[in-house]
Amino acid sequence: MGLTGLQIFKLLPKTNCGECGPPTCLAFAMELAQQKTSLDKCPYVSEEAKAELGEASAPPIRLITVGKGEKEFQVGDETELFRHDKTFFNETAIGFELEDNLEEKAIRDKAKTIDGLSFERIGLELSVNLVAVCNTSQDAETFAKAVSLVMEETDLPLMLVTEDPTCAAAALEKCASSRPLLYAANNENYEEMTKIADENSCPLVVRGENLEQTAEITDKIAKLGYRELMIDPGSGGAGEYLEDLTQIRRLALRKKFRPLGYPTVVFTGSEDTYQEVIEAAVYTCKYGNVVIMKEPDDWKTFPLLILRQNIYTDPQKPIQVEAGVYEIGEVDENSPVYVTTNFSLTYFSVMGEIEASRVPGYLLIVDTEGTSVLTAWAAGKFDGDKVAEELVQSGLEDRVNHKKVIIPGQVAVLRAKIEDNCDWEVLIGPGEATGIPSFIRKNWQA
């Protein structure tokens, strides 16, 4: 919902000085409307015009950075309600609560556990993003001490959970330079909290009692001149959060409703460890930008991080698997050799079926720029020459005592070309990956 050229023109100084590039203010306004130039090219524009125009050209959901350094993360700047319309951009940040009234050892241990929630899968590292230190003690000194302890154990960004400005200030003395996320400003404390956040340049979460009050508070804070905000609509339970987060996303995107145009923060409510990861999964799919759970169990965090990765994958750019030779199971020199493309779904299907067949095998993945077998073949990215070349270069002939390669049944036509170009014998595999277990039982004697 940008302004038109004429609306912009009204806000310009109308000097027609030409210093911005275009000869007249009107021409400059037209270029601004098409986002071909930027307002700072005009040396004479008034502060009010800057504020108004800056506001109009800002993204509908503000982008907020939390933390500093290697583990800082950004959330917000989303443009879609459904990932299939384009993509979701900045992954939901996942964190865990840590109460400040625990014993020192318990604080250190839990911080270490959260810090250790990092997993590797197909060459990608998946990690949690933040530790939410909670001012359960309601004591400033205890809070500050806990923050110091946590910082000794992890360099993950912090969230400071307190509604007491004195406690917030005490904790910020320890960690302001690492840009923690301050939680939360409410209807009573927002002036003081805003002042503290502003002085320490850290983002601030606004938590109202409901959607309306949350919008009211962010609006008041924006009028104080501070916009590094996130919002927790204070909904009652998972169902209500789902509705409120949906409203927030819709209002921000479709109405460009500024008071709710901020990333969202949600704490899971359930005491049950499975239920809390279920809630976190819902918010990951549906418009939660920062999600905080209680129990840092690795067995539930790993699948949650994978869900996040899956949902935030750009549908236009399918995940590619690195080309090369993969060993599926306990392979030996008698194991069969399969070849397929590097589209992640193709790889996973074939790999899964090789595993299910219970006959360990080598899987040679050819780089087809993330396309599936038939698409790659049609585009000339998976032809006989290429497969033969990859086979020869793979070094597989030194790892197995046969020279037989199984190719996808849908590209049976490649056989002649492959056999012409190298001394491997081609076996035509099944048309679908699901046929692999029965194919291998019938056609392979180790």
């Binding site: 459904f82 990932r83 299939h84 899968r121 959607l211 309306e212 009050q213 919008a215 009211e216 609006d219 339970g237 998972a238 169902g239 789902l242 509705e243 949906t246 409203q247 819709r250 209002l251 479709r254 109405k255 409703f257 008071p259 709710l260 049950d272 499975y274 239920q275 990861v277 279920i278 999964a281 819902v282 799919c285 549906k286 169990d297 067995w299 539930k300 790993f302 699948p303 949650l304 994978i306 869900l307 899956n310 949902i311 994958t313 549908p315 992640s344 779904l345 996973f348 299907s349 790999m351 899964g352 595993e355 299910a356 219970r358 699901t434 029965s438 039982r441």
Partner: protein, 317 residues
């Protein structure tokens, strides 16, 4: 602050499909189950109705599975050889709303059981439980076409849900379902147009639209779940925008896909932490529930419990 309201109101809703038949309707089920009927996106209850809660089914095999990991087998260890007892345990002990009887004995590479064996199993399971049942074949086209008609006849009048009908193989099954009063699972490979195509083909054979359940093909967490999720969202938006040919409720075979993954399998091996596998199954299911799933087939009893609890939360019950 007064904030603008952005409520969607849709022109149409998802079709309702009734599963099972009570004695008044010529069956022997204790109750029927209705799925579908949504007039809103998942759980946006202030914008429309979700008249029927998603239902949770459990798998029952007619032979002991040879590829389930040790810890996954444990809850079923005492019933694994007896599909009737297995079904009973799922319903009575684990709280399954219905069961999916998988005729795996028919696998031509396994026991290669014939139609007579299958008929007997179907009758036994129907007798053992009074919930509606789903029946699927071994997944081999020829054997499916031999066994499913037999199963359809053995369960005549019970208003079961039979599958899978695919674009290349649907006629035999569709005919058997219509002749014996059953519903049909229309399976398509994660593609909205192919989904519609199968539904059209079935409609051309005069299968009523409220007798079709969509299986969009399930990708597990970490193994293509995002494709299924987005296709389901697109199909559901189409249904709410009055595209009748894709307005059927969804079925997701969550358990078999989730427990095929490397991660879930390893977690269920001896010494593994099966809670990882259970989380894998649960999160796969949750993802589909929020894309509009109406019927989920799960494997582990703990997953059933957790998912039913989540559905309670969503439905406000």
């Amino acid at each position: 602050m007064a904030i603008p309201v952005m409520k969607e109101s849709w022109q149409s809703k998802v079709l309702e499909v009734v599963l099972g038949a009570t004695p008044e309707k010529g069956g022997t089920r204790g109750k029927t189950i209705t799925i579908g009927g949504e007039s809103t996106l998942p759980y946006l209850l202030s914008e429309g109705d979700i008249p029927n809660r998603p239902q949770v089914a459990m798998e029952v095999w007619d032979i002991a599975p040879d590829n389930w990991e040790e810890q996954l087998m444990e809850p079923f260890a005492d019933v694994i050889e007896d599909p009737a007892a297995w079904a009973q345990k799922c319903v009575e002990e684990f709280g399954a709303d219905l069961v999916q009887l998988k005729l795996m004995s028919g696998d031509p590479e396994g026991e290669d059981a014939g139609p007579e064996d299958v008929e007997e199993t179907v009758k036994k399971v129907l007798k053992a439980v009074d919930v509606p049942i789903i029946i699927t074949g071994p997944g081999n086209e020829e054997k499916d076409n031999l066994l499913l008609p037999a199963a359809a006849e053995a369960s005549r009048g019970e208003n079961c849900l039979l599958g899978l009908a695919i674009e290349e193989n649907y006629r035999t099954l569709a005919a058997a379902c219509m002749a014996n009063g059953h519903n049909i699972i229309a399976t398509s490979p994660i593609d909205i147009n192919l989904c519609k195509q199968v539904n059209i083909l079935l409609s051309e054979m005069d299968v009523p639209k409220n007798r079709i359940v969509i299986d969009p093909t399930t990708g597990a967490l970490g193994y293509g779940i995002e494709y299924t999720y987005s296709i389901m969202e697109r199909i559901r938006l189409g249904a709410l925008q009055a595209d009748k040919m894709i307005a059927m409720p969804f079925l997701n075979f969550v358990g078999e896909e989730a427990w095929r993954t490397k991660e879930a399998r390893e977690s269920a091996q001896e010494g593994g932490d099966i809670r990882l596998g259970i989380s894998w199954e649960i999160l796969t299911a949750v993802n589909f529930i929020h894309a509009g799933s109406d019927l989920l087939v799960l494997r582990h009893p703990d997953s059933v419990k957790q998912i039913k609890e989540h559905i309670d939360v969503l439905m406000g019950s």
